[in-house]
C-alpha cells in the first residue's frame, strides 16, 4: 500500500487533494452566497477550519460529481480554471468565483501533502472574510460549476464524457477581477479570484 502511494505520480496526489479541497471550497462559496437557506448546510471541520457542508444529497452530489469528474483532467494539467458561476434567470452571469489552476506536469518529486493542505487551508480561511468583496445576489439566481480546459480533452472514455456545455452567456465587457487568494508553489499554483461584470464602463455611457 505504501509502495503504491510512493509510486503515484505527484500529480495524482495533488489532484486528489485538490479535488477534495475544491469540493469543500465550492460548497463554502455556495453557502456564503446564501443561495440556499443556511439550514441546508451543516458545520464541519476540514483541514482544521470550520467549513460548511451541504445537507441536501443532491446538492452535495452535484458538487462532488462535478469536481470528481475533473480529477483525471487536473492530473493531466489540462484544467485551466474551475469557475463557480452565479447567474440570473436570463443566464447572465452575475458573479464568478474563479479557481485558476496550474498543476506542474514536470514536477517529479514527492508532494508533502501536509504542506499542500496547509496552503490550501488559507483559501478556506480567506473565503469567508472576502464576502465583502462579492456582490449581493438577487433572490432568484442560480449557479453552476464550469470548468475551462486549456485544450479540449481528447476522446476520453465515455464514463468521463459527461460534460455539459454551459448555457450561460458571456459578459460583453471584460470582467472586473478581484483577487481573493493566490497560491504559488512548485507543483501547484492556484489562484482564486472574483469576476464581476464591468459596469464601470457601461454606466458612464448610460448616464
Amino acid at each position: 500500500m505504501e509502495r503504491r502511494r510512493e509510486n503515484q505520480s505527484p500529480q495524482v496526489s495533488i489532484a486528489r487533494i485538490l479535488v477534495e479541497f475544491l469540493e469543500v471550497a465550492i460548497t463554502s462559496i455556495v453557502f456564503l452566497k446564501g443561495i440556499y437557506p443556511s439550514d441546508a448546510f451543516e458545520r464541519r471541520r476540514y483541514m482544521n477550519v470550520v467549513v460548511h457542508r451541504a445537507r441536501h444529497p443532491q446538492l452535495r452530489d452535484y458538487i462532488h460529481s462535478a469536481v470528481k469528474g475533473l480529477q483525471p483532467f487536473i492530473e493531466k494539467g489540462v484544467v485551466d480554471r474551475v469557475v463557480v458561476m452565479f447567474f440570473n434567470n436570463d443566464n447572465i452571469p452575475l458573479e464568478r468565483f474563479v479557481f485558476s489552476l496550474t498543476v506542474s506536469q514536470s514536477y517529479k518529486s514527492n508532494v508533502e501533502e501536509t504542506d499542500l493542505e496547509f496552503s490550501l487551508r488559507s483559501f478556506l480561511v480567506k473565503l469567508p472574510v472576502s464576502e465583502s468583496l462579492s456582490k449581493v445576489l438577487p433572490r432568484d439566481c442560480r449557479w453552476e460549476i464550469t470548468a475551462y480546459f486549456c485544450t479540449l480533452p481528447q476522446a476520453t472514455p465515455s464514463k468521463e464524457d459527461l460534460w455539459i456545455p454551459t448555457d450561460t452567456k458571456q459578459w460583453d465587457q471584460p470582467p472586473l477581477i478581484t483577487p481573493i487568494k493566490s497560491l504559488s508553489s512548485e507543483p501547484l499554483s492556484m489562484q482564486l479570484y472574483l469576476e464581476h461584470a464591468n459596469i464601470l464602463k457601461t454606466t458612464p455611457r448610460g448616464n
Binding site: 478581484t178 493566490s182 479570484y193
Partner: protein, 1164 residues
C-alpha cells in the same frame, strides 16, 4: 403458549391471514363442531397485536395467539369427530386411501358450492377443511373469485399454494379420484402465472408420477411425530412407463427420473423440511391416483432418515421391477451420486408439465430455485456433455503426459509425402451406450438427458438409423420424436465414455507416436514416416482394434494433411475408411459443398452463397485477393487455401490452454443478489478446481453474464437462456491465481459492476485467462525481482548501444558533408573543445546525443542515482559494468568534459537534422551564411531548435549549471535558449545565463532571423516570440538576485524616496515581496511626504520599472500579491504625488497584463 404468540405476532406482518400456530403438533385428532366459517376480519384480528392484548385481559389465555391455537385445536377436534361419523370410506377397502387424503382446503370468499358443502365433501372423502389459513396445514385454496389486489400479489396471498376452483372438488368426487388440480386453476391466475418455474421445481418430486396405478408393495410406517400424515407408504411400480403419458397433465417420467427426483428430494428435505413436505403434498394431491401413497411421502418422515430411505426405495424398486424397461437398469448402474446429479438434467423433460402447473413455481420460490439446490453447479457440470468433452482433454493429458512435448517440435504436415490419418468414432455417444444393448443396434437411438417426448431437451448424438429419419444432434427431443416416433432415447453414461475414450487413445498411441487429440472420440495421427498406402493399412488395423476393444466402430480418413484427412473421414463414415491421395485432392474438392470445410459456418456459407458459391470448385475460381477483400485477410486466406486442399496445420501441435472457465447458461434464475452470489461461489469453486486440474493459474478474471433482453419472452427451450444480451467485465490482478477465495472476491466485485437486476440473469460464466503455469508462478518472485528486470534491460541496452553508436557516428559523418557546401566552416566549428568532446565520449556519454535510440544509462536521472542507497546503487552499477560510477565521477569532476560532449553531440544532431529535415531551405540559409559564420550558425540552430525544441531545451538545461566555459557552449544567441526552461531556473542562474550571453548578439540574432529566413515565417515568428520572452526575462532582472537588483540601485540613488523603499526591503525581512515592503512603507510614509516634492521623471520611471517587472513576475502566479500591492499603492496615492504619478503610469500596464492573462481588469 408464549412461543405461539410470538409466532403469530411475526406472521401477522407477512400475511393477514396466516395463522401459523403449530396446533397440529398438539393434537391431530380433533373434531370440528363449529361449522361456521370465520370471517376474514376475525382471522386477521387473531394475529393483530392489539387484540391480543385486550383478549388476554379477560380470558385465561395469555394472549390472542394462544387463544387461536386453542381454537384451532378445537376446530380440528370437531372436524375429526365429524369425519369419523360422516366418512363414506368403506373401511373394508383399507388399502385405498380416501379420495381427498392429504388434501386440506381453505375456502376463500364466496364459492359455489358454498364453503359448507365443500367442507362436507372433505369430511366425507377424507380431506381436511381449515377455517383459518395456515401455510403449513392448508394444501389448496379454493375460491371462485379473487379481488385484483390478491391476484396481483398472489404470492403473499396464496403463499405458494394452489388456488383452485371449487369444481375441482366436485369433479374429483364425481370421478372418484383426485384429479389434477391444474386445469381447475383460477383463470385469473393462469394468465398471470405463465412465468417459468424455477429449477428447484424439478427437484420437488413429482416422484410418484411413474408409480401410479400399481400395486402396493410395501407398507411403511413413517412419521410418527406428524400423525397428520401418518400413513402407509407404498412403494409402487409402473409396469410400463408409458402409462403415465396417458394421463393428462401428468408428465411422463421414466423410472430413473423418478429415482433421481427422489434422491433430490432427500436434499431438499434436508434443507427445508417444511417446504419440501409441502411440495410433496402438492405432488401427491396432484395425482389422480390419490389413494396411492407415493414414494415421495416416505421422505416426509424425518429429514435425516430421508436420504437413507431414498436409497432403500431405490433398492426396493430395482429388485422388484423386472418388467420395467432397461433404462431403469441403466440408471441403477450408475452411482448414487450420479443419479442425484441427473436429477436436474432430466428436468428438461418436465418443461411441459411445469408451465401448466404454475403454482409450483411460487411454492418453490421460497427456496429460490436454481439455487435452492446447493449443488447446482456441481451437478450441472456433472451432467454436461460439453463439460465432459471440455475437461476430457485434461484427463487425456494426464494420461498421456509424454505426448505434447514430444510432438511439439514436429514438422509441418504440408511437407511432401506427409500422411495424416484422421480417426473418428462413429456416433460415439450413442454407440458406447448401445454396444452393451444389442437389441438397440439397428434401431434409431439418440442420446439425451431425458426422453420426455414433448420436452425441449436437446439430442446430443444420434446413431445412423436415427439420422436417416432426420434426427440430428441439437434438435429438441420433441422434434426428434415427431420425426421418428419410435426413437429410443438413452441417457449419458459418462463413465463408459471415459473408458472407451481411454481405450481409443491407447490404441492410437500404440500405433503412432504423433497423435493429436481433437476430442474424446476424434484424433489425428501423423504417419508421415510411412507412405500413404501404409497409412491406409495402419488405419484399418487401428479401426479393427478399436472395434475389438470397445465394441464401437470408428471411421478413418487418410490424406496428405489434416484438412484432407478430416474431409476423407466424412466420406468414410460410417464405419469405413477413405484415402485421398494428393492427385485426387482437387477432384475430391471440386464437388464438395463449401459447408463441409472446417471454419465455414452459417454466416460464411450464406455470404458465399450470395456470391453463388456452393462448392469448393467454385470457390477456387475466386482470386485470393478478392477473397481477402470480401472476408478479411485471414478468412480469405483460409478459404483460398482450403478450397485447394492446402492446410499448413501440423499434427500434434498441442495448443496451450489460453483460458479456463465455467459457464452455466441453463436453468439460471435468481431472485436475490444473495442467490447470485451463492451461485458465484459455487462457480468459482468449479473454476478453481478446473484451474488446479490443468495445473495453471490465471491473472485475468472475466465474469460473463447473459441478461435477458427487455422484450424477450421466455425461451423455447425450457429453462434455456433465450434472447440475451451478453455482458462481461474483466479484472486483471498482478499475481496469477487459482485460489477459490481470490476468485470469489473478484467475481463478486465484478458482479457488482454490472448493476443489473439479478432476476434478469440467464447465464453466468467465469473465465480465467492470462494463464501462467502453476509451478512457474511459484518462481514468480525471482522473475519479478529488480535484478532480473534490470539485467534483461541492460542486456538489451548493451546490444542496442553499439549499433546506435555506430549509427550516430555514421550519421555524423554523413551529416557533415551533407549539411551544406560551406565545408570551410566545418573545420572551424568543430575545432578545439568540440573535437575533444567528440573524441572523449565514452559509450555512455555518446548516448547523451539523444539520437533515435537511447541506451538506458542516459535515461537515468543522475540525481536519483546518486541518492540511491549504496546497496542498490552498487547493484545497478554492477549491471552497468561499473560505468555508472564512472559516469557519476565524470559528472562531478569533469563538468567541462561532459559539457563538451553535450555540445559535440548537439552539434552532430544539428548536422543530422539539417540534413534530414529540409535540405532545401537549410541550404539556402547556409549559402547566405557563408558571409557571417556566427549568424549562420545561429540560424541553423534555430532550424534545429524548432525541429526538436525539447531536446535542445534539455540540453541547455544540462549545460546551465556548468559555468566553466560558458562561452564555449553558449556561442549561440538567446533565441536558442528554451525560454520556458529558462524561466523555471532559479533566479540567480537565470541571470547568470542571461549575462553570459554576449549582449551584442541579441539584436543581431533577431535581425538575422528576420532577414535570413524569410521563407519560413512561422519560424521567424517563433524566434521573435522567444526573443520577446527572453527580453521579458531580462526585464525582470530588476527583481532577480538576492537582494533584488533594484534594491542596490535604489540604495545608491540620490532620491530619498527610493532610498526609503530600498531600506524597507531589508526592514520587511528581505522576503522579496513587494507587498510587505509597501506595508512597511505605510508606517514611514507620513514622514517622507515632504520628499514627494522633488519628483523627477527619472525617479518615477525607475519605480515604475520595478512595479512593471513585479507585475510581470507575479501576474501568472500571484495576482493576490499584485492586488495587495496596488491597493496599498492606491492608498499611498492619496498622500503622495510621487506614488500617484507612478500609480497612474503603471495602472494601464497592470490592466493590460491582467486582461492579457485573465481576460479582465483588476478591480481596484
Amino acid at each position: 403458549m408464549s412461543f405461539n404468540s410470538s409466532r403469530s405476532a411475526n406472521s401477522c406482518g407477512k400475511s393477514k391471514r396466516s395463522n401459523d400456530s403449530n396446533s397440529n403438533n398438539i393434537n391431530n385428532n380433533k373434531k370440528l363442531r363449529k361449522s361456521n366459517q370465520k370471517t376474514l376480519g376475525m382471522a386477521w384480528g387473531s394475529n393483530s397485536l392489539s387484540s391480543s392484548k385486550s383478549s388476554s385481559r379477560k380470558s385465561n389465555f395469555t394472549d390472542f395467539g394462544s387463544y387461536m391455537v386453542e381454537k384451532n385445536r378445537k376446530l380440528h377436534d370437531q372436524f375429526d369427530a365429524e369425519a369419523t361419523t360422516s366418512s363414506i370410506i368403506d373401511s373394508s377397502n383399507s388399502g385405498n386411501k380416501p379420495l381427498f387424503h392429504g388434501v386440506s382446503i381453505f375456502v376463500d370468499g364466496f364459492t359455489v358450492p358454498s364453503s359448507q358443502e365443500l367442507r362436507s365433501y372433505m369430511l366425507k372423502y377424507g380431506g381436511r377443511f381449515e377455517n383459518y389459513f395456515s401455510r403449513s396445514r392448508v394444501t389448496h385454496i379454493i375460491c371462485s373469485n379473487l379481488p385484483d389486489s390478491k391476484v396481483k400479489n398472489i404470492r403473499s396471498f396464496s403463499r405458494g399454494l394452489p388456488v383452485v376452483k371449487p369444481t375441482w372438488v366436485l369433479d374429483s368426487v364425481a370421478a372418484n379420484k383426485l384429479l389434477n388440480w391444474v386445469p381447475y386453476q383460477l383463470e385469473q391466475l393462469v394468465n398471470n402465472m405463465q412465468k417459468q418455474p424455477k429449477l428447484s421445481t424439478f427437484f420437488v418430486p413429482k416422484t410418484n408420477l411413474g408409480l401410479q396405478e400399481a400395486k402396493t408393495l410395501a407398507n411403511r410406517h413413517l412419521n410418527p411425530e406428524e400423525g397428520c400424515f401418518l400413513e402407509n407408504a407404498n412403494s409402487q411400480e409402473s409396469p410400463s412407463c408409458e402409462v403415465g403419458e396417458s394421463i393428462e397433465y401428468s408428465p411422463e417420467f421414466k423410472e430413473e427420473t423418478c429415482i433421481y427426483g427422489l434422491a433430490k428430494v432427500c436434499e431438499v428435505i434436508k434443507e427445508e423440511p417444511i417446504s419440501a413436505e409441502q411440495n410433496l403434498l402438492e405432488s401427491m394431491t396432484a395425482e389422480p391416483s390419490c389413494s396411492n401413497l407415493n414414494v415421495g411421502e416416505a421422505f416426509k418422515s424425518s429429514p435425516c432418515k430421508s436420504s437413507a430411505s431414498a436409497n432403500d426405495c431405490l433398492g426396493d424398486r430395482s429388485e422388484k421391477s423386472p418388467s420395467s424397461p432397461q433404462i431403469v437398469g441403466e440408471a441403477f448402474k450408475s452411482s448414487p451420486c450420479k443419479s442425484s446429479a441427473s436429477a436436474n438434467d432430466c428436468l428438461g423433460d418436465r418443461s411441459k408439465k411445469s408451465p401448466s402447473s404454475p403454482q409450483i413455481a411460487p411454492s418453490s420460490n421460497q427456496r429460490n430455485s436454481t439455487l435452492g439446490d446447493p449443488n447446482f453447479v456441481e451437478n450441472y457440470f456433472k451432467n454436461s456433455r460439453l463439460h465432459f468433452i471440455g475437461t476430457w482433454r485434461n484427463r487425456y493429458r494426464k494420461r498421456f503426459p509424454s505426448l505434447p512435448g514430444g510432438v511439439k517440435d514436429g514438422y509441418s504436415a504440408v511437407s511432401h509425402g506427409a500422411s495424416v490419418i484422421h480417426v473418428d468414432m462413429d456416433c460415439f455417444f450413442v454407440s458406447v451406450i448401445i454396444r452393451s444393448r444389442p437389441e438397440l443396434q439397428d434401431k434409431p437411438v439418440a442420446v439425451c438427458h431425458s426422453d420426455n417426448p414433448r420436452g425441449t431437451a436437446e439430442i446430443s448424438s444420434a446413431n445412423y438409423p436415427a439420422r436417416d429419419y432426420g434426427v440430428r444432434a441439437g434438435i429438441f427431443v420433441r422434434d426428434a420424436k415427431s420425426l421418428c416416433p419410435h426413437l429410443v432415447i438413452v441417457p449419458y453414461n459418462f463413465e463408459a465414455y471415459e473408458l472407451v475414450a481411454d481405450q481409443f487413445y491407447q490404441i492410437l498411441h500404440k500405433h503412432c507416436n504423433k497423435v493429436q487429440a481433437v476430442s474424446c472420440d476424434e484424433a489425428f495421427l501423423d504417419v508421415s514416416d510411412q507412405g500413404l498406402e501404409d497409412a491406409e493399412h495402419i488405419a484399418s488395423v487401428i479401426r479393427q482394434e478399436i472395434y475389438e476393444a470397445t465394441g464401437c466402430t470408428a471411421s478413418a480418413g487418410v490424406a496428405g494433411n489434416v484438412l484432407m484427412a478430416r474431409l476423407a473421414t466424412r466420406t468414410a463414415k460410417p464405419n469405413g475408411q477413405f484415402l485421398i491421395p494428393p492427385e485426387k485432392v482437387e477432384g475430391f474438392l471440386d464437388e464438395l459443398p463449401i459447408k463441409a470445410l472446417p471454419g465455414i459456418g452459417h454466416v460464411l456459407e450464406d455470404k458465399l452463397k450470395r456470391l453463388s458459391i456452393q462448392t469448393c470448385g467454385q470457390l477456387r475460381m475466386i482470386s485470393k485477393v478478392s477473397l481477402q477483400k470480401d472476408f478479411g485477410s485471414k478468412t480469405g486466406n483460409m478459404l483460398w487455401n482450403y478450397s485447394r486442399g492446402i492446410d499448413s496445420r501440423s499434427v500434434g501441435v498441442v495448443q496451450e490452454t489460453k483460458s479456463v472457465g465455467a459457464e452455466v447458461n441453463w436453468g439460471v434464475r435468481f431472485n436475490t443478489l444473495q442467490d447470485t452470489q451463492n451461485f458465484l461461489v459455487k462457480l468459482c469453486h468449479e473454476v478453481s478446481l478446473r484451474l488446479q486440474g490443468c495445473g495453471v493459474q490465471g491473472r485475468t478474471i472475466t465474469l460473463k453474464l447473459k441478461k435477458k433482453r427487455k422484450d424477450a419472452g421466455e425461451p423455447t427451450k425450457y429453462m434455456g437462456f433465450g434472447d440475451c444480451e451478453n455482458l462481461s467485465h474483466a479484472m486483471t490482478i498482478p499475481i496469477a491465481t487459482d485460489d477459490v477465495d481470490v476468485l470469489q472476491r473478484i467475481s463478486k466485485q465484478l458482479l457488482g459492476y454490472f448493476r443489473l437486476d439479478v432476476k434478469e440473469i440467464r447465464g453466468i460464466g467465469l473465465q480465467v485467462s492470462k494463464m501462467e503455469n502453476a509451478d512457474m508462478t511459484s518462481q514468480g518472485h525471482e522473475r519479478r525481482s529488480l535484478r532480473s528486470w534490470l539485467s534483461s534491460a541492460s542486456g538489451n541496452m548493451e546490444e542496442r548501444s553499439h549499433p546506435s553508436m555506430e549509427m550516430t557516428g555514421g550519421s555524423t559523418k554523413h551529416g557533415y558533408p551533407n549539411s551544406d557546401g560551406d565545408s570551410s566552416r566545418l573545420p572551424k566549428s568543430s575545432t578545439g573543445p568540440l573535437t575533444r568532446g567528440h573524441t572523449n565520449q565514452t559509450p555512455a556519454e555518446a548516448s547523451l546525443s539523444r539520437v533515435s535510440t537511447l541506451p538506458q544509462i542516459c535515461d537515468l536521472d543522475m540525481g536519483v542515482i546518486e541518492s540511491l542507497p549504496p546497496d542498490i546503487f552498487s547493484e545497478i552499477n554492477a549491471l552497468y559494468g561499473g560505468k555508472l560510477s564512472e559516469v557519476l565521477k565524470k559528472n562531478d569532476d569533469n563538468d567541462d568534459k561532459l559539457s563538451d560532449s553535450v555540445i559535440g553531440s548537439s552539434r552532430r544532431l544539428e548536422g543530422e537534422i539539417t540534413k534530414g529535415k529540409e535540405p532545401l531551405p537549410s541550404e539556402k540559409i547556409h549559402v547566405e551564411e557563408i558571409t557571417s559564420k556566427n549568424k549562420g550558425k545561429e540560424c541553423r540552430f534555430q532550424d534545429y531548435q524548432s525541429a526538436s525544441t525539447s531536446a535542445v531545451g534539455s540540453l541547455n538545461l544540462r549545460t546551465g549549471p556548468m559555468g566553466g566555459d560558458k562561452y564555449e557552449f553558449m556561442p549561440t544567441s538567446l533565441s536558442q535558449v528554451d525560454i520556458s526552461i529558462l524561466q523555471q531556473l532559479p533566479k540567480e542562474l537565470k541571470l547568470d545565463i542571461l549575462e553570459s550571453l554576449p549582449a551584442h548578439r541579441r539584436p543581431e540574432c533577431s535581425d538575422s532571423a528576420l532577414v535570413k529566413c524569410p521563407h519560413d515565417k512561422v519560424k521567424v515568428e517563433k524566434v521573435k516570440d522567444q526573443l520577446e520572452g527572453a527580453e521579458s526575462v531580462l526585464r525582470r532582472s530588476l527583481w532577480s538576485g538576492h537582494p533584488p537588483e533594484w534594491v542596490d540601485k535604489f540604495e545608491v540613488s540620490n532620491n530619498l524616496m527610493l532610498n526609503r523603499i530600498a531600506e524597507m526591503y531589508y526592514k520587511s525581512g528581505s522576503t522579496g515581496s513587494l507587498s510587505s515592503i509597501l506595508q512597511c512603507l505605510i508606517s514611514v510614509l507620513p514622514f517622507s511626504l515632504d520628499a514627494s516634492n522633488d519628483v523627477s521623471d527619472n525617479v518615477i520611471s525607475s519605480l515604475c520599472d520595478i512595479l512593471q517587472q513585479y507585475i510581470d513576475l507575479k501576474i501568472k502566479s500571484d495576482m493576490e500579491e499584485i492586488y495587495i500591492c496596488f491597493r496599498l499603492l492606491r492608498r499611498f496615492t492619496t498622500k503622495s504625488i510621487f506614488f500617484l504619478q507612478a500609480y497612474d503610469r503603471v495602472l494601464p500596464y497592470l490592466q493590460a497584463s491582467f486582461s492579457e492573462n485573465y481576460g479582465g481588469n483588476l478591480n481596484i
